[in-house]
């Protein structure tokens, strides 16, 4: 009990950000993680305020919601994404155009970092040099060049069909190739040109040249900072430091940084420090055990257990009375059970995206709220059915003894339903251990942080280093409840009753 209260207090403390703190967000892929770290470190070095990074915040919807309600102050975004996904604009907008549309929202975009992360065609550096190809237009002069394009690129209107038309390319439509295999194919000189994103980590590794899109066919995805419009006034020195990042990062440099994280296994913080000219730690070891018990293990385990236990505790305190209400008041039954059933069907990311604006916060509080909501159904259902399944003869015997309602509930009915209620709590706890891994997507920490990073980096060892302890925790919780069941169960209800006399 005391541990639970301490955990609750911790949750409240860690989620309340001081007003003068700069909170930086990032999305759930390598480049965004690195840029988030660069922004955070730059802000810290300005020395004006504390800067906190909330990394890997789900998708655009979640990170944008976090920005508009002030849970974060700034995050790295791309002009094309602002134009299409956030502003839903049907015509191309330049930075001024974007800012005119963002102003009513209290937001602004600025500090173009110096690279454009969009579709690109790439060739091996040596082959491009030999053929004298620098831009996509140059390809028209080489009809014998072999393309190896991804299915998606061939299919999209803004991919191959549009490109072929815009540049009047004479080449026939190539067969589709798996994107992962395309790099191997071009390395082995089986194809000459593949499609890629301009800042793919592998562009550097395979020594590929990004061909210049000289007719500006591909949409522009310039990396910029998307921030709350009051940031420059609120933290002027920090803003000045962040502005210095303008043009500091060209595509080649970004490719190199992505490669450091994805291919060399360096931490995001480390990559960012290297870029900003700080001391770098040695690259992390690839061994699974070393990764599993990395220094953050204790913190992640604590966060995970805290998320599960606090949400479970609140779900018990509220869920059992709701179950009793459903049992006692037939008019409320359908209501309670169906509303809680519907909550259970809401996908977790959608629930998070809904809860963030509700609380005006990201991190622990909305994560706890979501986990609490998911934990309700098994507890309420089992409390209700445990009470409703009491044999009518027993219920009537209690009434016939002249015992009042409250006394019957406390002394007879709840103890008889205790096994079902405990089973509901156990189900909720085990489910919550799993669901809590998703809380990392909104910056609440836990083992899900490793899973999110592993997914972003396509790094199976990192993914397992998060998934294995989460699974182990689920087993421990399950086993713990089995013991609790034996310990709490009224002796007369046990499978093998222990005789207390004779």
């Amino acid at each position: 009990m005391r541990a639970l209260l301490a955990a609750a207090a911790f949750a409240v403390c860690t989620s309340g950000f001081a007003a003068d703190t700069l909170t930086v967000g990032s999305k759930r892929f390598t480049e965004s993680y690195i840029l988030g770290e660069i922004i955070t470190l730059t802000a810290q070095r300005a020395g004006e305020t504390q800067a906190v990074h909330r990394p890997g915040l789900g998708n655009t919807g979640i990170v944008y919601a976090a920005l508009t309600n002030g849970a974060i102050d700034v995050y790295p975004e791309y002009t094309g994404t602002i134009e299409r996904e956030i502003l839903k604009s049907t015509r191309p907008l330049d930075l001024d155009g974007l800012n005119r549309a963002l102003r009513p929202l209290g937001l602004a975009a600025g500090v173009p970092l110096g690279f454009n992360n969009t579709y690109a065609l790439t060739m091996r550096e040596d082959r491009a040099q030999a053929l004298g190809v620098r831009s996509i237009s140059d390809l028209a002069a080489h009809p014998d060049i072999v393309f190896g394009l991804s299915q998606e690129f061939i299919g999209r209107a803004d991919g191959w069909p549009g490109l072929k038309q815009a540049y009047a390319l004479p080449h026939a439509t190539p067969r589709g190739l798996d994107h992962g295999l395309a790099y191997e194919a071009i390395a082995a000189s089986q194809v000459d040109v593949i499609d890629a994103y301009t800042t793919d980590a592998k562009i550097g590794r395979y020594k590929l040249r990004v061909l210049d899109d000289d007719r500006k066919f591909f949409p522009v995805y310039d990396a910029v900072l998307l921030y709350r419009a009051d940031l420059p006034q609120r933290l002027p020195r920090t803003w000045a430091a962040l502005s210095s990042l303008s043009g500091a990062l060209d595509a080649r440099r970004m490719v190199a940084l992505n490669a450091e994280a994805e291919l060399d296994g360096r931490s995001f913080t480390d990559v960012a420090k290297g870029f900003l000219g700080g001391r770098q730690e040695p690259a992390r070891g690839g061994g699974f055990l070393a990764r599993l018990f990395a220094p953050d293990f204790g913190r992640l385990a604590f966060e995970h257990v805290m998320l599960v236990s606090v949400s479970l505790f609140v779900a018990i305190v509220i869920g059992i009375p709701l179950g009793i209400l459903a049992y006692r008041v037939p008019a409320a039954r359908q209501w309670v059970l169906s509303v809680i059933g519907v909550i259970q069907t809401v996908p977790s990311l959608a629930l998070f995206a809904f809860l963030i604006p509700l609380f005006g916060k990201i991190g622990t509080i909305p994560a706890l709220a979501a986990l609490f909501l998911y934990a309700l159904l098994p507890i309420v259902r089992n409390t209700y059915s445990g009470l409703a399944d009491i044999a009518p003869g027993l219920r009537e015997s209690a009434i016939a003894l002249g015992l009042p309602r409250g006394y019957r509930l406390r002394v007879i009915e709840l103890p008889l339903a205790s096994r079902a209620i405990l089973a509901g709590v156990k189900t909720s706890a085990v489910i919550n251990v799993g669901t809590a891994t998703i809380a990392a997507f909104i910056g609440a920490g836990g083992f899900g942080e490793r899973i999110a990073q592993g997914l972003a980096l396509n790094d199976n060892a990192a993914l397992l280093a998060g998934a294995v302890p989460a699974a182990a925790l689920a087993l421990i919780v399950h086993g713990g409840f089995e013991l609790l069941d034996r310990w709490l169960m009224p002796a007369g209800l046990r499978d093998k009753a222990v005789s207390t006399s004779i």
Partner: protein
């Protein structure tokens, strides 16, 4: 002691209790008998206030049974069902003492009463520490009877109290119960479908069928002056066939 005045109750589209009036005098033992589904248990549940009549009224002593006074009146009624209705999570002793504990009776008084009841029900007091599942069927029914008698009620309602027992245990308990009833001089209303058991306990039988009372009287009245042919049919069906060992 108990009076039903034109009590009617519809429980389902297929079963309804016709408006019926019944009187149970103080200190008498009456048996409600009839085939399954005839409404005899419903009469008992109406008296215990577990179901409310659609019309008519139930009088306990001088009071009309109503939701407002049901709880208080139940303290004057002991009620035992077929499986005993003992709470499995409480020891036998805790089951018996439940209502007295709730009323805040002194521990010494409860202890004294438990000893009395053990003697009355012929239950070794060591068994009170056991859970219901650790007792035999006959022991469980003795405990259930003790629980019903704990507050020394004026009225005892027994719904097939021996129905789930084997013949030997049943016979032993029949003897003991009859002795207890005679000794305590309580008003007892018992439900059974067994004619032999009915005649063993009561001078007054009430034969029911399809929610109606067919006949009220002694076994002599019912066999010699049957109200209709079903009464004869019911009685003869429960007699051992001629020539079999009695």
């Amino acid at each position: 002691m108990v009076r039903l005045e034109n009590v009617a109750k519809t429980l389902s589209p297929r079963f309804a209790l016709a408006p019926l009036s019944l009187d149970f005098a103080v200190g008498t033992t009456s048996v409600l008998i009839g085939p399954s589904g005839c409404g005899k248990s419903t009469v008992l549940r109406l008296i215990a206030g577990l179901v409310e009549p659609d019309s008519g009224r139930v009088m306990i002593g001088e009071q009309t049974l109503q939701p407002q006074n049901a709880q208080a009146l139940r303290l004057r009624i002991g009620y035992v069902i077929q499986e005993g209705g003992l709470f499995p999570h409480l020891s036998a002793g805790a089951n018996v003492a439940l209502a007295a504990r709730h009323l805040g009776r002194a521990q010494s008084e409860i202890k004294k009463r438990l000893d009395e009841l053990c003697e009355l029900a012929a239950l070794p007091s060591a068994l009170l520490a056991r859970y219901p599942r650790e007792l035999s069927g006959g022991q469980r029914q003795r405990v259930a009877l003790m629980r019903a008698l704990m507050l020394d009620p004026e009225l005892l309602l027994l719904d097939e109290p021996l129905g789930a027992l084997d013949p030997v245990t049943r016979h032993a308990l029949q003897q003991d119960l009859k002795a207890i009833f005679t000794r305590l001089r309580k008003t007892v209303i018992m439900v059974t479908h067994d004619m032999g058991e009915a005649t063993h306990f009561a001078g007054g039988l009430i034969l029911m069928r399809d929610g109606k009372i067919l006949q009220r009287g002694t076994i002599d009245d019912l066999s010699k002056r049957p109200a209709d042919s079903y009464v004869t049919e019911f009685i003869s069906a429960q007699r051992p066939p001629l020539g079999s060992a009695a």
